[in-house]
C-alpha cells in the first residue's frame, strides 16, 4: 500500500473502461489462465482490443447473464481466472442465484464486473440503473465488493483481484472518473483511505460520491465545519477500524453512495457503528426509489446526491449534536 492523494480533483483524460481493458491485457500477456466473459457488451465495456488479441480467451455468451456466470464458475474449476462483465444490474440481480450457488457456494474463483453503477447508467434509465447491486451482493458469504474510484485505483485493484482467490464483485464506472489518487498509488483491499483530515464530522464515501464528498468538505470548511473525508472503496469486508476511528474522533458520520441507502454503504456503516461505537449517522444516497432516465447531473440533483446535499446532511448532523 502506497497512496498519494491527488492535489487536484479533475476529470481524468482516460476512460475507466480503457484502463480495465489495458490492465486485463497486461495480465493476460503473462498468464494464459486469464479469460474474459461477457454477455453481449464487449463493445460497451471497451474489451474489443482484448478480444482481438485473445479471441480464444474471450467468451462472448451473447445475452445470457445467468449462463455466463455458470460458465465462468465452471472455467474457474479448471484453473482459469475468469472476469465476467455485464451492466451492474444484469451482472448481479439478473444472475444472483448463479453467483450465489454456482460461484460462491461452490467456493470457486470468479471475478464479476458490473459496469455503469447507480446514476451513471443515465440514459439507459431505470431498468439499467443499479441502486441495489452492492446491497444484494453484500449478502453473499465471503464475497469481496470493491468500487474503484479512479483509473489509478482500478488498475491496481484489478491486478490484485486476479490473484486473490474467491468471488469478487467490482463495481466499475465505465467513463471518465474524477482523479482522486496520483499515478503509482497502490491500495490494500479492505483498508479505507483518509482523503482529508477533519474533526467535526466524517464523510465516508464510495465511487463517484468521493469527489462530491471532497467538494462538500471545501464548502463545509467555509461554513466553519471541519469535515474528514474517507474513501471506503471496499464495501465488504468493510474497514471497521476506520469507521470506529472516525466515530471516536469526530462524533458524527455521514455516508455518501451512488446506491440506495438501504443495504449499501450507509447500512454497512450503520451496522459497524451500532455494534461498536454508536454516533449520529446521516446517509446520502438514493432513498427507496427506482432509478430513472436522464443526464447524470440531473439525476444527481433528483436523488439528492450533490456536494450540496452532502453539505446539508453534514450540517444537519453536526447542528443536531450541538443542540443536544
Amino acid at each position: 500500500m502506497s497512496i498519494v492523494i491527488a492535489k487536484e480533483n479533475k476529470e481524468e483524460k482516460v476512460m475507466m473502461r480503457d484502463v480495465y481493458c489495458r490492465t486485463l491485457m497486461e495480465l493476460a500477456s503473462k498468464d494464459k489462465n486469464i479469460v474474459v466473459l461477457d454477455a453481449d457488451l464487449i463493445k460497451s465495456i471497451g474489451m474489443a482490443p482484448f478480444m482481438k488479441e485473445y479471441p480464444d480467451r474471450t467468451i462472448d455468451c451473447g445475452v445470457q447473464e445467468a449462463n455466463m456466470i455458470g460458465v465462468a464458475a465452471g472455467m474457474s474449476a479448471t484453473g482459469k481466472i475468469p472476469f465476467a462483465h455485464s451492466f451492474a444490474p444484469f451482472a448481479t440481480r439478473r444472475c444472483y442465484d448463479q453467483v450465489f450457488l454456482s460461484a460462491a457456494y461452490a467456493k470457486l474463483n470468479v471475478k464479476i464486473v458490473g459496469s455503469d453503477p447507480g446514476i451513471t447508467a443515465a440514459f439507459n434509465g431505470g431498468t439499467h440503473m443499479p441502486l441495489e447491486d452492492m446491497g444484494i451482493m453484500r449478502n453473499i458469504p465471503g464475497i469481496t465488493i470493491l468500487e474503484p474510484v479512479d483509473s489509478v485505483m482500478l488498475s491496481d485493484i484489478i491486478k490484485q483481484v486476479a490473484y486473490k482467490y474467491g468471488i469478487f464483485y467490482v463495481r466499475l464506472l465505465r467513463k471518465n472518473a474524477i482523479k482522486i489518487y496520483e499515478d503509482g498509488s497502490t491500495f490494500e483491499i479492505g483498508k479505507a483511505v483518509k482523503l482529508r483530515e477533519g474533526k467535526d464530522a466524517a464523510i465516508i464515501a464510495t465511487g463517484i460520491m468521493a469527489a462530491e464528498a471532497l467538494k462538500a468538505a471545501d464548502i463545509l470548511q467555509e461554513k466553519g465545519i471541519s469535515a474528514r473525508v474517507v474513501n471506503m472503496f471496499t464495501l465488504k469486508p468493510i474497514d471497521k477500524d476506520m469507521i470506529i476511528e472516525c466515530a471516536r474522533e469526530t462524533g458524527a458520520i455521514v455516508t455518501a453512495e451512488n446506491h440506495s441507502i438501504i443495504n449499501g454503504l450507509g447500512s454497512a456503516v450503520a451496522e459497524v457503528l451500532g455494534e461498536n461505537y454508536p454516533v449520529l449517522l446521516g446517509r446520502v444516497g438514493v432513498k427507496d426509489l427506482f432509478g430513472e432516465v436522464g443526464p447524470e447531473a440531473y439525476l444527481k440533483k433528483r436523488f439528492e446526491m450533490t456536494a450540496e446535499d452532502i453539505v446539508k446532511k453534514v450540517s444537519a448532523t453536526v447542528n443536531y449534536l450541538k443542540k443536544e
Binding site: 451473447g62 474457474s76 479448471t78 450457488l101
Partner: protein
C-alpha cells in the same frame, strides 16, 4: 460390439449401486429415491472404465469430469463413488446427518470425487460448459459428462448453456437427459411438457440420441457413438423409469422425495440382493 462380460460388469455395478442407495436412504428414512434410482445404470457405465478417472487421485488434472446437474441424485452418485473406492463404504450411512460429507445435493467441497456443486436446477448445464471450455483451452484431452433431469430441462438456463455449447462446438461435452418422465409435482408432460427433448437439443445444434436408459449396453454404445462425433456437443436422452429397481418407489407417482420404512427397505434390498446373486452366479 460390447462383450457379454462387460455388460455383466455394468449390470452388477448397477445392482450394487441400487442396493447401497436404498441402504443410504432407508437408513435416514427419507430421500430423493425416484431420481436417484433412474440414473443408476448410466452411473454404472460411466464408472466402469468409460470415464478416464483415478479414484486414488480424484482431482487428477487430465481426468474426465462429471457434473450431476440434477444434484438430488446425490445418494446414487455417492454409492457409486464409495463402491469405486473414493471414500469408505461406511460413510454412506452418514447421508444428510449432521456434519456429513454427503449432503442431499452434490457438493464439490464436501465429497471426494464430486466435480461440481449442484442443486439449483439448470446450474450444472452452464458449469459443465465452463469445464469443457476450460479444459479444451488448456489443451486437455478430457470429456465432460453432464447429467440433466427431464424436469430440469424446463429451466431456461439449460437452453442458454445448450446454445453456447453448440456455438463453441464443444465435442468434449456429452450430456444425458434422465427422461424418467416425472417431476416433483407429477408427470412432466402434464406440468410443462418438453415434447421431444432430443429434438430440442438437435435444433440447438447438438447431436442427439434416444435410448433405453435402463439398458447398460445401449448406454455404453451411445457414449461410444457420441465420442465419435466431432464439431458438436452430444446429448443422450435416457428413457428411464423413476424409482427404477426399488420395489416400493418404482411405478408410483409421488416418488421424487419419499419416506422409506425399515420394512419397505428390507423388502426392496432382499429383491435386489437376490437378483445380484443370480447375476453373479450366471
Amino acid at each position: 460390439m460390447i462383450s457379454e462380460a462387460k455388460i455383466k460388469e455394468f449390470d452388477i455395478l448397477a445392482l450394487k449401486i441400487r442396493i447401497e442407495t436404498i441402504k443410504e436412504i432407508g437408513n435416514l428414512g427419507f430421500g430423493h429415491l425416484g431420481g436417484a434410482m433412474s440414473v443408476v445404470d448410466t452411473l454404472a457405465v460411466l464408472y466402469s472404465g468409460v470415464m478416464n478417472i483415478d479414484p486414488k487421485n480424484p482431482s487428477w488434472e487430465d481426468r474426465d469430469w462429471l457434473v450431476v446437474s440434477k444434484g438430488h441424485a446425490g445418494p446414487s452418485v455417492y454409492a457409486t463413488l464409495a463402491l469405486k473406492g473414493y471414500f469408505p463404504m461406511e460413510e454412506l450411512m452418514t447421508l444428510n446427518k449432521p456434519g456429513t460429507h454427503l449432503p442431499s445435493h452434490c457438493d464439490r467441497n464436501l465429497t471426494t470425487g464430486i466435480d461440481m456443486t449442484t442443486g439449483s436446477l439448470g446450474h450444472g448445464a452452464s458449469t459443465a460448459v465452463g469445464v469443457a471450455l476450460g479444459n479444451r483451452l488448456s489443451g486437455k484431452n478430457s470429456t465432460t459428462y453432464l447429467i440433466l433431469g427431464d424436469g430440469e430441462c424446463q429451466e431456461g438456463q439449460v437452453w442458454e448453456a445448450a446454445m453456447l455449447a453448440a456455438q463453441h462446438k464443444l465435442d468434449n461435452l456429452i450430456a444425458f437427459v434422465d427422461d424418467n418422465k416425472q417431476q416433483l409435482d407429477g408427470y412432466t408432460k402434464d406440468i410443462n411438457s418438453l415434447i421431444d427433448v432430443g429434438l430440442k437439443f438437435e435444433s440447438f445444434g447438438w447431436h442427439a440420441q434416444r435410448i433405453d436408459g435402463s439398458n447398460t449396453a445401449q448406454i455404453y454404445e451411445a457414449i461410444e457413438k457420441a465420442k465419435e462425433y466431432s464439431g458438436k456437443p452430444s446429448v443422450i436422452v435416457l428413457e428411464t423409469v423413476k424409482g427404477k429397481g426399488c420395489s416400493f418407489a418404482e411405478g408410483i407417482l409421488d416418488n421424487h422425495q419419499m419416506t422409506a420404512s425399515r420394512e419397505q427397505t428390507e423388502k426392496a434390498l432382499e429383491a435386489l440382493e437376490k437378483e445380484l446373486g443370480r447375476l453373479i452366479g450366471a
